[in-house]
Amino acid sequence: MPILGSVDLGDPLFAHGFGLAVLVTILVKVLVAFAALLVSVMLMIWFERKVISDMQNRIGPNRAGPFGLLQTLADGTKLFFKEDLLPTRADKFVFRLAPLLVLVPAFLMFVIVPVGGVVTIANHVVELQVADPPIGILFMLVVSSIGVYGTMLAGWSSGSKYPLLGSIRASAQMISYEAAMGLSVIVVILESHALSTRAIVESQAQHFWQWNVLRLGVVPFIIFFIASTAELNRPPFDLAEGESELGGGFHTEYSSIRFALFFLAEFMNTITMSAVVVTLFFGGPDGPGFHVVTWLWPILWFLGKTAIFCYIQVWIRASLPRMRYDQLMDLGWKRLIPLSLAWLLIVAAMIYSVAWGFAVIAGSIVAFVLINRAVKVSAYRRKEAESFLPKGRVTSISGAKTVMAPSDPATTYQETKG
């Protein structure tokens, strides 16, 4: 089913200039997107709790409304009426600003997602997405990076230890995974020759084997999915929160509605990231349609695909334990970034010519073997070096060593006796 519309850069809505009709269309789009996002967040939180309880042999929320659907509303109302605490040592302005810095990008990120096809209303070609800027997918990357500031500043401005640790983790983690994520997005852009999300979606239209997930090999999709989960601060990458080790991490000091805003943003980001994955790799609203209500089918396809990815996100949360911090950094820097870089080069060379493609594949394999060998040798040397250290309790965190003096049982015994 082809998605109609031009491949022109820029929104075709402005083809006839900017008039009242255009303004009204934009307003309606914004309002619908705003309301739909809020409602879907409400449903997403309910969905997550229900699915997780399914996977843990529980029933989950079932008190408020039918099937507990209104549970989120009840929780939100409760949080609204809780006391809004402001720590004495907090940086008050930044402390108040941080939740908004997380929430606003969460709303903004959804702007570029193509929800459906293209409809014509009163001679105006209306794309079913809030905005279609020429920079498209870059806007998503930019806005998601602003969200990191929110998390970072929230922890920093709390004036407390655990939030600070959480925010340090958040910044390091998100910067690490942003790189892998960006590289896998570039692979998509290479194939679709455009940054605009509408163009990316249209380049995958018609047949499912033209979806980027198959066209580019599954690797960029996997990298993007892992990196986006890390960007979202969702398990198994929720180190910035780390309930068990940091007591909530960056939002430890937050209470009341400010706390709720963080969660609103987190779940909104989950939905948006699922939508972005669908847009980049699964053809967005592409799918077989019928001639009954033509505009509806793409929307249904989009919603269905997004729901599947939301389910997978919850499934991951229910299945995987939180990663250790060095494992997180290992995965990000030693595996995802080299892999996405190699894949980018391979795809670029393949587009240029097949011969170059195979040359780059060979080169990547050689590079991989070399890097692997280098890592192994350095690990072996470190172990070797440690064996020369005095015996006792040796704690080693990637090179930094603390050597505690060995305790002699004989002397300690005599001391206690004397």
Partner: protein, 230 residues
């Protein structure tokens, strides 16, 4: 990461998705109640003999042994014409402060006449300090031997049925046959019930002898959980 690691990695996902089809273990608590363990300690009852006389003789041993200091007892001499309990004295004042009680069951063990026992009813969320202090009016069982239902107590049908004993005979374990034998009668149940055999003797009857209370109760529990014994 070897190939085996990758298999294990997806094994976790398989495990969690498999649970979706498994039965739920949740008990919808206010609507339905899980069976209580055989030796659960709930609120106390003051028992009576079948002829209506109170078992409490006002010896204050329960108050003496209470580690939380929550029992207040004052004994008084029985009226010879119209005695409250068989024997010389009876419990004139008997109060348990449930804001202090830790339900350790030491009072039950101390009681020489088994006048005080603990039921399995723990759902009594009073809203005032006065309600928290149970006096004889609340503690002494009624003429049928049932505990008195206070307005703030959450009882379901037959909740009190599966509870510690009242209406017990004078013999140590509530049964004339067992008089003089060493028995462990921590659990009595509704009306009269056969006690558990003592730890040293070799009694082996079909009811409870040499079988733990949990085994005896197993069937009841299994019925309540739909064939599943936890």
């Amino acid at each position: 990461m070897g190939a085996l690691d990758a298999v294990n990695f997806f094994g976790g996902f398989k495990q969690s998705i498999k649970q979706v089809l498994e039965p739920r273990v949740t008990t919808q608590y206010p609507k339905e109640k899980a069976p209580k363990p055989p030796r659960l300690h709930g609120r106390h009852v003051l028992n009576r003999y079948e002829d209506g006389l109170e078992k409490c003789i006002g010896c204050e041993l329960c108050a003496a042994v209470c580690p939380a200091d929550c029992i207040y007892v004052r004994g008084a001499d029985n009226n010879i014409e119209d005695p409250t309990s068989p024997g010389e004295r009876y419990g004139y004042v008997y109060e348990i402060n449930y804001l202090r009680c830790i339900h350790c069951d030491l009072c039950v063990e101390a009681c020489p006449t088994e006048a005080i026992t603990e039921s399995k009813m723990f759902e009594f969320s009073f809203t005032s300090r006065a309600d928290a202090i149970y006096t004889k009016n609340e503690l002494v069982v009624d003429d049928e031997g049932h505990p008195r239902h206070q307005p703030w107590e959450d009882w379901r049908d037959a909740d009190e049925e599966h509870t510690s004993g009242w209406m017990r005979a004078t013999s140590p374990s509530g049964n004339a046959e067992t008089e003089g034998k060493v028995q462990w009668s921590a659990e009595l149940g509704y009306g009269k019930r056969y006690p558990e055999a003592g730890q040293s003797d070799n009694r082996n009857d079909e009811l409870t002898g040499n079988i733990s209370v949990r085994e005896v109760e197993k069937k009841k529990i299994s019925v309540k959980l739909g064939g599943k014994v936890r």
